[in-house]
Amino acid sequence: MTTTGTTWDIASVVDTLLEAERTATARSSIAKEWPGLDVATAYDAQDLALRRRHERGERTVGVKLGLTSKAKQAQMKVDEPSVAWLTDAMELKAGRSIPVDELIHPRVEPEIVFVLDKPLRGPGVTAASALAAVGVVMAGLEIIDSRFAGYGFTLPDGIADNNSSGLFATGSVACAPNGLDLALEGCLLEIDGAVVDSATGAAVLGHPAEALAFAANQFGRRGHTLEPGWIVLTGGLTNAVPVEAGARIAAHFSHLGSVVVSG
C-alpha cells in the first residue's frame, strides 16, 4: 500500500474520495487499510460528502440504489441493496455528451426512474405505498464511475464513494405510473446501434417499486425523508457497460420511450 501511515477517519475518507473524483484519479480500497470503515461508518461518510457537496453549492435532487440484482449482491456477498445521494451537479442535461475525459472509467446502465410527488418516510413503506407516492416514471441512463481502481471495492468502500455516482440522464417522456406493469417493462440497451443487453423492471428486486420502498425505509432509519420532486434511480436493469469516447448509447423502453447519450 502506498498510503501506509495514513490515519483514516470519516473526514479523511470523504476528502480523499472527493479529491479522487475531482482529479479523476482511481485509488485502492480504503476499507482494506482501515477496518473501522464498516457499513454504518461508510453511510456517515456518504452523508458528510453530501454536506461537502452542499457547501460548494450543489443541491440534493434525489437518491439512487445500487446492488439491486441478485448477481451483484452475490458478488458483494450481501443480501440487500445499497443507497446513495444524487445532486443537481450529477445531471447530464439533454443533448450533452458524457465528459469521458473528466471521468475515471465510466460505465453506463439503463434504469427506471421515479419522480416523487408525495413524501416517503420509512420504516414501514411497502412497494404499494411507495408506488402511490410516485408522480411520474421515466427512462434513465446512469453513468457510474467508481473512484476505486478496476471497480475493486468492498461494500463499505462503495457506500462511502456514494455508490460510484457519476452522472444520470433521463428520457424525454414522463409517464404516469397508473396502468404500467413495470415488472414487464422491457428495456433494450444499444451501443452504436447494436443491442448489447436487455431486461425488464423485474431485474430490480422483482419490481422497481420494491427498490423505492427499500430506499424510503433505509433513509428513514437514518432520519431522512424522500421529498416530493426527488428523483429516484431504482438500480441498473442490466450489467454496466464501459463507455467509450464517441460511442452512441441508447436505452429503449416499451412504454417509457428512449434515452440516448453520447460518449
Binding site: 406493469d181 415488472a183 414487464l184 417493462e185 422491457g186 428495456c187 433494450l188 447494436a194 443491442v195 448489447v196 443487453d197 436487455s198 431486461a199 425488464t200 423492471g201 423485474a202 431485474a203 422483482g206 436493469l237 429503449h252 423502453f253 416499451s254
Partner: protein
C-alpha cells in the same frame, strides 16, 4: 419440407450422425463432435444434422418447424461466433403446458423464453424481407424452449451444436394466439420465473434486434439449400434471456408483455 436431401452426404456425415444418435439411444452424452471428427466444418455440421433428421423422419417423426439458436449478442459471445445457427423441430419435441414432461426425456436440459411464430404462408429465401416475414406470420405464441446437448457437459463449439440439431430438445407452446400486428415484438418485455423466483429478464430485441429479423435470417439461410419454411410451421427465433439449467421437479414460467404466458412442468421421478 420434405425429407432432407442426402446430396453430398459422406461417411464423415454418417459417422458423426451415428455418434450423436448413439447419445439419444443410450441416454448418455458423448464426446464433442470436433474431438471425434476434427476435420468437420460448419457445412459438414449442417449435413450431419440433416442425416439425423432424415433418420427421425424415416422412423415416423415429422418436421414441424425450425429453431434459431445463438441469436443474441450474449449467446454469440459465449460461443465465440458472430452468426446464429438453426435446427429442426420435430413433432416428438412438442410438449403440452399442463402435462409434466417425463424425467429422463432430456440429458442436461436448459430452458429459454421465446416468442414463437406460426406461419400462415410459406417463406422461401433468398430475398425475404421483414415485410414478407411479418405478412407470412399467422400468429405468435409465448413459448419455452428446452435446449439440450448430446455433447457431455455442454462442451460445445459451433460445429458441435449445429451437428447436434442446434442443441434442440423440446418446446412448450402457450395456447393463446396473438397477432404480430398488436405487439411491439422488439421492445416487449419478458420475465422468466424458475420455481417462482425471477431467474432472468429480457426484451424481444435481444434476438437479433427483433425476433422478426431472426425469421428473416432463417428463411434466407435455408432457402438456398432448397428448404422452405412451410405454412403451419413453428419457428422459434431465439432466446430473450440467458438459458437457465433445469432439473426434475422444476416449474418454469415465462410472461411476455402483450403475448401472454406459458409454463413448463418438469416431472419428478415416480416414487415406488
Amino acid at each position: 419440407m420434405s425429407a432432407p436431401t442426402a446430396t453430398g452426404e459422406t461417411a464423415l456425415h454418417r459417422d458423426a450422425a451415428e455418434h450423436l444418435l448413439g447419445a439419444y439411444a443410450a441416454g448418455k452424452a458423448v464426446a464433442p463432435v470436433v474431438e471425434a471428427f476434427p476435420q468437420a466444418t460448419i457445412t459438414d455440421a449442417y449435413r450431419i444434422q440433416q442425416v439425423q433428421v432424415a433418420r427421425w423422419v424415416a422412423d415416423g417423426d415429422r418436421v414441424r418447424g425450425h429453431k434459431v439458436g445463438l441469436a443474441s449478442a450474449a449467446m454469440q459471445r459465449q460461443a465465440g461466433v458472430n452468426q446464429p445457427d438453426y435446427g429442426h423441430l420435430t413433432q416428438s419435441m412438442f410438449f403440452l403446458e399442463h402435462e409434466p414432461i417425463p424425467p429422463g426425456t432430456f440429458l442436461q436440459p436448459r430452458i429459454e423464453p421465446e416468442i414463437a411464430f406460426v406461419l400462415a404462408r410459406p417463406l422461401r429465401g433468398p430475398g425475404v424481407t421483414v415485410a414478407d416475414a411479418v405478412s407470412a406470420i399467422d400468429f405468435v405464441l409465448p413459448a419455452l424452449e428446452i435446449v439440450d446437448s448430446r455433447v457431455a457437459d455442454w462442451r460445445i463449439g459451433i460445429v458441435d451444436t449445429i451437428s447436434d440439431n442446434a442443441s434442440s430438445g423440446g418446446v412448450v407452446l402457450g395456447a393463446t394466439p396473438v397477432s404480430p400486428r398488436s405487439v411491439d415484438l422488439r421492445l416487449t418485455g419478458c420475465v422468466l420465473h424458475h420455481n417462482g423466483v425471477v431467474a432472468a429478464t429480457g426484451a424481444g430485441g435481444a434476438v437479433l434486434g427483433s425476433p422478426i429479423n431472426s425469421l428473416v435470417w432463417l428463411a434466407n439461410t435455408v432457402g438456398p439449400l432448397g428448404i422452405e419454411l412451410e405454412a403451419g410451421h413453428v419457428v422459434l427465433p431465439g432466446s430473450m434471456t440467458s438459458a437457465q439449467t433445469i432439473s426434475a421437479g422444476d416449474t418454469v414460467a415465462t410472461t411476455i408483455a402483450g403475448v401472454g404466458s406459458v409454463t413448463a412442468v418438469m416431472g419428478r421421478e415416480e416414487s415406488q
